[in-house]
Symmetry: C2
Amino acid sequence: MSVNLLTDKAREIEALLDEVLPPVSTRPAPIHEAMRYAVLGGGKRLRAIMAVAACESVGGDGRQAHGLAAAVEMIHAYSLVHDDLPSMDDDDLRRGKPTVHRKYGEAVAILTGDALLTAAFAELARMPEKYGIDFATTVAVIAELAEASGSQGMVGGQTADILAAQAGAMARDEVELLRYIHSHKTGALFTAVLRCGGMIGGASPRQLASLTTYGEHFGLAFQITDDILDEIGSEAALGKATRKDQAMGKLTYPRVFGLEQAKAMARESVRQCLQALDELPEDTHILRELALMVVERDR
Amino acid sequence: MSVNLLTDKAREIEALLDEVLPPVSTRPAPIHEAMRYAVLGGGKRLRAIMAVAACESVGGDGRQAHGLAAAVEMIHAYSLVHDDLPSMDDDDLRRGKPTVHRKYGEAVAILTGDALLTAAFAELARMPEKYGIDFATTVAVIAELAEASGSQGMVGGQTADILAAQAGAMARDEVELLRYIHSHKTGALFTAVLRCGGMIGGASPRQLASLTTYGEHFGLAFQITDDILDEIGSEAALGKATRKDQAMGKLTYPRVFGLEQAKAMARESVRQCLQALDELPEDTHILRELALMVVERDR
C-alpha cells in the first residue's frame, strides 16, 4: 500500500522530468541523449517527492514545487554521473544499467554532469514564469540549493570521502569524519530540498526548523541504510555493485559501529523524523511514509 | 597605455575573486585550495571586465556588477578545469602552471570544476543582499547565464567540439559546424555576460540588442584569434601548449579558411563590435579597448 503510493509519486516525477529535459533531437544530440539517459528510467525520486510533500506539509500547492522537484533530481543525477567516473568510484552499473561513462565515454559523461547541474539552476530560475513563485523566494531557493550542493555541502562531502579513501588508514577521529562526510555528501541536499519545498509553500520559521530537523535525521537514516545495503544487500535488487565501500577502504556506519548498532541508529533517526512531523500543520503522510520506507528498503 | 588600463582592471577583479572565494582553511581544505588555484593567479579577466563595462556603458554603477563579474570568472575557470582533463583536451599546462588535475589529481579536478560552477550560482543568488540588485533582475541574470553555459550553450559547444575531433574526418558542412562550435563554446558566455551587465545597469531593450551584437562579434574575433595563436603563437607567451588543435584534428578558423582570411574575418568582427558601441549612451572606452586588444594580443 505505502510502496504503491510512493511508486505512483515516482511515476509522476518521471513524467515531469521527461517534459523538462530537452528532447534528444536538440542539438547537439549526444549530450541531450546522455542527459536523458542519466536522469530518466528509474530511481526512487525521494528528493523530488520530498520537495512536493514539504510544500504541501505547510499548506502550499505541491504543483508549485515541481520546478524545485525537477531541479533537485537533476542535481542528484549529475552527482551520480560524476561520482561513478573512473577517477572517482569507478562504477560500471547504476540502476541496473551501464553508467553514463560506460555507455557514452568519459568526456561526454563529464559534460553530461556539467549540463545537468547547469540545467537545474536554469529550471529554478524559471520558477516565477512556470509556477508563479515570487522572485524573492526563487532567489532564496537558488541560494539554499547552491550552498547545499557546493564545496561546503555535497561536493565537499564527496571530496572528503574520496580523500579519506585515498589516504587509507583512518583519521584520529573516525566517527567525526564519517559524520562530516555523510552529513555533507547526502544530508545537505535532503535538508535543502525540504527547506526549499517549505519556502515555496510559505512555511513559517518554526515550520522550516521542523523540516530541517526531519531532513537531517532522514539523511542520516538514509546513509546508514545505504552503507548497510552496500554490505549485506543484493546486487540484483540494488542495480549496482555492492561491497564497493569496503574494497575502496571507505568509512561506513556498519564498519565503524558494527551492523547491529548501525541499524539501531537508523531506527532512532526515523523516530526523530516522525517526531519532527508533529510540528507541521498539514498533511504529512508522504513524509511519514518516506521516513518509514528509508530503513525498510532493499534498494 | 590601453594595456595598462586593462591590466589595472584585471588586478581589481583578481582582488574581488580573492575575497569571494572561500579561504583555504575552509573544510575540506583540498577543494578550497584547488578552487583558488584554478581561479586566481592570472588570466585576462575579459569576462569580468566586460560585465562591469557593460553595466557602465548603459549608465549603471559598475560595482553593482561585481557579483556577476565574480560568477562569470568562476564559470569560465570551471570550464577550463574540465576541458583540460585527460579524457577531454588532456592539457598539462594552463596559464604557465600545471593544470588542476596535474596538481591535485583527476578526482579533485572534476570536483573543483563542479564546486566552481555551483559557487557561481550561489554568488549570483547573493546579488540582492551584497549589491542591492532587485530580485527580478537577479533571476533574469541567473536564467541567462545558465542558458548560455548549459547543454545548448557552452557545454553544447564543447560537446560538439570533442565529438567532431573524435569523429576525425569532417562533416558535410565544415564551416557551419565550426561556427556552431565556437558560437556556443565561447561566444554564448561573452554575449550573456554583456547582456547581464546591461540588465544590472538598467539597459533598454535597444541597448541590450547593441550589447548582444557586440558580444557575438567579440566572441567570433576572440575565437579566430585563439585559433591563430594556437597555430602561430608562442608557448611561453600563452602559458599553455600550442598546436594542440591540429594534433587533435580540431576544426579551426585558419585550418578551414586559411590564415590570411581568418585574420581578415577577425578584423571585420572588431569593426562590427566598435559600430555596435555607437548605440550605447555612456562611456564605452573599456569595451572599445577590449575589442581592439582581442585581435592584437599574443596570449
